[in-house]
Symmetry: C2
Subunit: 125 residues, 2 copies
DNA sequence: GTAGAACTTAGAGTGCGCTCTAAGTCAAAC
DNA sequence: GTTTGACTTAGAGCGCACTCTAAGTTCTAC
């Protein structure tokens, strides 16, 4: 706990987001942190609640296989403010289609794996 | 079409499996092809129907994020024959659990993305 | 039989997303 | 005020899964 309400160290941010401290610095270097991270009272990073929420959302994009470069594109749009809302919507809708395709492919592969599992259970080959 | 029924060239195999010819040679080098691929009447590879089906199944494992090393483990068990059936079943069941976890994570991320999409549609931030 | 396309090998190169290192600075506890 | 551990930077290194290159061989069509 620090004097600044809810601003946490990089290792606490790592624990909260599931990323490594290395990855958090990497994301910042790559320009994914909107306004950059505060350095309250020192050179040390202090992550606010908003920073954490933001990183958590980024991990949702990443866990659905959005490449870092595309994430940065999205972040740049957010930085542009109100006027980019429709562009952001478009980007997320396009990504949504990718995610549905992923779910479909994985589900089909799962069916093939389940089929194989069933053959092993029946003792056939 | 060749004299040998259903044995196709590497580029045809690539077209049939969705892999590149480079990837097909790579898989063979990595020992993923069970008995190796025939070289009927030349140094050129000839993929049988069974080879193609096998590669297709491997792509199911790969598309569900099984690392090549784990795929090789599975292939090695298949090579051992009957006696490894229960080990193969175990491996596939463990992988199945990973796949379900993936589906779960992606589905949750999709929900977060859909939520964001909804806020853009409502014109809120 | 010859041109051109497709194939062969071994091995180097690539892109991605971190991950680690080194050398140093800062903070918290005692 | 000193130790201990967390933090800082810039930049190198890594693991994965291909992907590409080069130099040469073979197949197919004419």
């Amino acid at each position: 706990m620090s004097l600044v309400h809810d601003a946490v160290s990089i290792s606490e941010a790592a624990a909260l987001t599931g990323l490594s401290t290395h990855a958090l610095r990497y994301y910042e270097r790559e320009g994914l942190m909107l306004g950059g991270v505060d350095r309250a009272s020192s050179t040390h990073r202090r992550y606010t609640e908003a920073d954490i929420s933001w990183v958590v959302f980024l991990t949702k994009l990443r866990s659905t296989a959005m490449p870092i470069a595309k994430v940065r594109e999205y972040v740049d749009l957010v930085r542009e403010g109100e006027e980019s809302t429709s562009a952001r919507l478009e980007l997320l809708l396009a990504h949504r289609a990718n995610v549905l395709a992923q779910l479909d492919e994985i589900t089909q592969s799962l069916a093939a794996i389940d089929y194989k599992i069933a053959t092993y259970r029946k003792g056939n080959s």
